[in-house]
Amino acid sequence: MRLEHEFTVPAPPEVVWQALTDPKRVAPCMPGATLSSVDGGAFTGSVKVKLGPISLLYKGSGEFAETDEQARRAVIKAAGKDARGNGTASATVTVSLTGDDRGTAATVLTDLAVTGKPAQFGRGMISEVGGKILNTFAGCLSGKLAPQVDAATFTAETAEPAPRAERTKPRAEEAKAAEAEPINLIDYAGPSVARRIAPIAGGGLALLALFIVVRRLRHRD
């Protein structure tokens, strides 16, 4: 699955580049992520995700496969598996930065492979959610790099602020040695995705109605 997202940070590209290529600075801003070790360009860590009733703890490793400071282009490869056997995930992320003294625009190309339950149930929301997660990330990074600027005014141009971003952000910032809170994908998803996930959460008469709505939507594909 190939995904494409953009975000902006109100800091010059050289500042953003330094932050982005340092796992220790990147990780605290990534919702759900915890960094366990860094060794040069390689790192290990985990990402906690909640997907309705499914809790996932991806543990894995990654590396900066390519860092081209000249072109401001970095390629990060990461792979992990859920500690509870619910599946694996691997990604090749290519980040390119452009901009000037006033701000940096980042383009993120992600080649993502997800298996198991998240692939079965979460597939439809991954793209939608991915953009919002990156916005939260960008907001956090903006806060760290340019605290004098209101991050929201810059992130707003790609999408509306992520729901509950206020909550996630401070927690992520506080998270130093502590483990990150799981990222709840349903909080990030739009209403259509929430409806998709609801039947899987199971139980309740109201779900029957949702079920029919979802089926109708599917039939229209």
């Binding site: 699955m1 598996k81 859920d82 500690a83 509870r84 056997g85 619910n86 599946g87 694996t88 492979a113 997800v114 298996t115 198991g116 339950k117 692939a119 079965q120 149930f121 597939r123 998709r196 039947p199 899987i200 079920f211 979802v214 089926r215 599917r218 039939h219 229209r220 594909d221």
Partner: protein
């Protein structure tokens, strides 16, 4: 007592079994328990193709309530290989098929490890503590690519993804001419490729198994269509002596072929029960069921049809790619072969060739699904007939009539070598046309086309026949199937005159208990309510070949008739003795023997009723010399031929050309299933079959992502239709009795599924044909219909 009781056969009796089946207060496997029962949960591979480099189960072992955790490596020496009973060619390639994966996993959902715990919840929770490292291997998902040279291999040890190539050629078989010559000589040649998408059988009751090893015999309860085959295969696969296994299929909540299987889960349950010496149960979740139980269809069909300009067909060539999935299950390789004899359908093709290439992919194995090979064949030929009609600008029904076997031409030996015993395609088609108001709808279609109505009307036609009543044993032998196709029944006359019927066909919702009771009540002249049908337990119903292929009535029902006739034969001897007359002087009617010529056969005032005789035989005080004190009888029936139900289905579809939405406006089917035992059951079978066939045409598809994960693994994503998605069906029948069995019955279990898919797709294509559309891949979702219209419009513009 009335003078002449109303015959039971043909009566629309409410089904005896429905109260308990509908309320669920019955013996579903998961409702059953035994003392000391343990519960299993199965860890399934989240990846489609990988080497298992490490499994750590220690943490799972320490979880609360857990008694054992078992991996493939633990049972590698004793689990054997799951059976494939249909080696279609001598050089067929088949990989070992372990119940628990040992070194590699070959589809997402394959069983990797088992947890046994005191409760199902504890077992399920402990799955999360098992740590497995998978080293990815290349996935093989695209059927055509898998069959091509240089493809990544599912099973590298086989050296190829091609399991077998199976050919039927009418020139070689002596049943027809050479098809390539026919195509070369013809005035019109049509070539089309159709995709039979992968379907999930979606039976209502997920599979469930309980095994109790604590007695002298291992008792195994399973939600299966095939308890007898299962018993044999457990013995042959695991080396358990056959007489030490008893299999019970209690009430089973649907199957549609999906439970015509000997499953990894069943073998695992026996292995674990024997390992622990304790009873265990496994019940799958819906998602496990959808990804691990076998799938159906999944073929690519290349068709070449040749004809003369006047519409006479001259040849048909079929080249199939059939997706086996990752392993060959019980009859996986044979499913497309069942279709091989049906592509010529009801038509007089002078030349025919069928070549099927069976291909492995890293997906869930495929196997029988309602119709098994025959819906695919019928779809292809009926789509081709509509395409030919369009090409020649003929009415599609007129084109069919020009080519079908006329009612005065039966028995007719087809180009595929089958002999159709009977049929009347003219009668069924005429009735269907009338009920459908075919000519009125065609007129409306012309008006709406001329007016440029954004919602266009399409009329879809499908005729069909199918080979039912699987199967003559000698034919199965000729097709390399490992077993026969006979069926067995026994009848026990109890001292009080009540009757027990033991049948080897094990129902999973079809209504055997009612239909068999009607047959026996008529045959023996006893009340319907006095008949009990016993099935699905290898102890009480020891012989049988089970339920699939519309065989229960046409084969199993004949065994019941045979057993009843033997009971009457024995009773006749006793009656002659008691009435002091010769056996030949006795008449038997309405359950009573009377002396011929006394005119009292129906009065009930004289003679001997069969119930009286049953009591007399039980007492055994005064029996004919040398007679054993029992009327009980059994019978085994092996059919000499298949039966061939047929019919004509007509579908009217409204297609919104701006949104691509399809709405079915009316659906008429006239089926000829021969003599009808219970019209209500037949209607029910047809309704359900139509729903499933329409679902293939419009709604259902098993979809995998590029990693091989099944993304339609819940009923929110795999869209089986409900009543609101379907039109009111007009079902009707003609009745041309089969000549190959004493009841004249033909079978109805698969008919609706076979004819409805092409009828619906033909209707959708017919609606948008003026735009230049000549095919839409199934399922015909609004997006696909809309795209087909757009592409045709753009193609015409450029």
């Amino acid at each position: 007592m009335t003078a002449t009781a109303e015959p039971e056969i043909g009566r629309a009796r409410l089904r005896k079994e429905d109260a308990r089946l509908i309320t669920g207060r019955t013996r579903w496997t998961d409702n059953l328990t035994v003392p000391g029962l343990l519960h299993m949960a199965i860890l399934r591979s989240p990846v489609a193709h990988a080497r298992i480099s490490r499994i750590d189960v220690e943490a799972a072992r320490r979880m609360p309530g857990v008694l054992d955790v078992v991996t493939g490596a633990d049972v590698a020496g004793i689990q054997g290989s799951l059976p494939c009973a249909w080696p279609i060619t001598e050089d067929m390639k088949a990989p070992p098929a372990p119940s628990l994966a040992v070194d590699t996993v070959n589809f997402a959902g394959e069983a990797v490890a088992v947890v046994v715990a005191r409760s199902a919840y504890e077992a399920d929770d402990a799955l999360a503590a098992i740590d497995v490292d998978y080293e990815d291997l290349p996935v093989v998902l695209d059927l055509a690519a898998a069959a091509a040279e240089g493809a990544e291999l599912v099973h590298p040890a086989l050296g190829t993804n091609i399991s077998a190539v199976w050919t039927f050629d009418s020139a070689q078989a002596g049943t027809g001419q050479d098809v390539d010559a026919a195509i070369a000589d013809s005035e019109v040649v049509l070539r089309r490729t159709f995709r039979q998408q992968r379907l999930i059988p979606s039976f209502m009751e997920p599979r469930s198994i309980m095994v109790d090893p604590t007695g002298e015999q291992i008792i195994m309860w399973s939600s299966t269509q095939v308890p007898h085959i299962l018993r044999l295969m457990v013995a042959m696969t695991l080396g358990v002596p056959e007489h030490k296994i008893r299999v019970i299929a209690p009430d089973v909540g649907g199957g549609f072929g999906g439970k015509l299987q000997v499953t990894p889960e069943e073998m695992i349950s026996v292995l674990i029960a024997r390992r622990l010496g304790k009873p265990v149960k496994y019940t799958e979740s819906r998602t496990d069921s959808m990804q691990a139980a076998h799938h159906g269809r999944d073929q690519i069909q290349h068709l070449t049809l040749s004809a003369r300009r006047d519409g006479t067909v001259t040849g048909l060539k079929v080249e199939l790619l059939a997706d086996m999935g990752a392993y060959l299950r019980l009859v996986t390789p044979g499913v497309p072969i069942l279709g091989a004899f049906m592509y010529n359908a009801i038509y007089k093709f002078p030349a025919y060739k069928f070549v099927c290439t069976n291909v492995f992919t890293t997906k869930t194995p495929t196997d029988a699904y309602r119709g098994a090979g025959r819906p695919e064949a019928t779809f292809a030929v009926e789509r081709m007939m509509d395409e030919l009609a369009a090409e020649l600008d003929m009415d599609p029904l007129a084109l069919r009539e020009k080519n079908w076997i006329r009612h005065d031409e039966f028995p007719f030996t087809t180009v595929a070598g089958l002999t159709y015993d009977s049929g009347n395609y003219e009668a069924a088609t005429a009735r269907a046309k009338e009920l459908f108001r075919y000519d009125d709808l065609r007129a409306e279609q012309r008006r709406r086309r001329a007016a440029g109505d954004p919602v266009q009307l399409g009329i879809g036609v499908s005729t069909y026949t199918e080979m039912c009543g699987l199967a003559p044993s000698r034919v199965l032998g000729a097709l390399s199937y490992a077993a026969g196709g006979w069926e067995h029944a026994a009848i026990r006359m109890l001292p009080t005159g009540k009757v027990e019927v033991i049948t080897g066909t094990s129902p999973h919702g079809q209504g055997h208990e009612t239909a068999w009771s009607q047959i026996v009540a008529d045959r023996l002249g006893v009340p319907f309510e006095d008949v009990e049908v016993i099935h699905g337990d290898t102890q009480s119903a020891p012989r049988g070949m089970d339920t699939y292929g519309s065989r229960s009535l046409t084969v199993g029902g004949m065994a019941v008739v045979g057993a009843a006739d033997k009971v009457i034969g024995k009773a006749r001897r006793v009656a002659a003795h008691l009435l002091e007359c010769a056996e030949d002087d006795l008449e038997f009617a309405n359950g009573r023997f009377t002396v011929r010529g006394t005119g009292s056969a129906t009065s009930g005032q004289s003679g001997q009723s069969i119930q009286d005789i049953a009591l007399a035989v039980f007492a055994a005080h005064d029996l004919p010399d040398g007679m054993e004190p029992s009327l009980d009888s059994e019978s085994t029936f092996d059919p000499e031929n298949f039966s061939y139900p047929h019919g004509t289905h007509l579908c009217a579809a409204e297609v919104d050309t701006e949104t691509g939405r399809v709405r079915l406006r009316s659906y008429v089917c006239v089926d000829d299933v021969g003599r009808v035992i219970n019209p209500m059951i037949v209607d029910g079978q047809v309704h359900g079959g139509l729903a499933q066939g329409i679902a293939q045409a419009l709604f259902e598809e098993a979809v995998h992502d590029e990693g091989g994960t099944l993304t339609t693994a819940s009923l929110a994503d795999y869209t089986i239709p409900s009543a609101v998605d379907l039109p009111a069906f007009t079902t009707n029948r003609t009745e041309t009795p089969a000549t190959t069995n004493p009841l004249g019955v033909k079978g109805v279990g698969e008919a609706g599924t076979i004819a409805s898919t092409p009828a619906v797709v033909n209707a959708v294509v017919d609606a948008v044909r003026p735009f230049g559309v000549s095919d839409i891949e199934m399922p015909c979702t609004p997006m696909r219909v809309w795209r087909a219209i757009e592409q045709a419009r753009n193609g015409a513009a450029s």
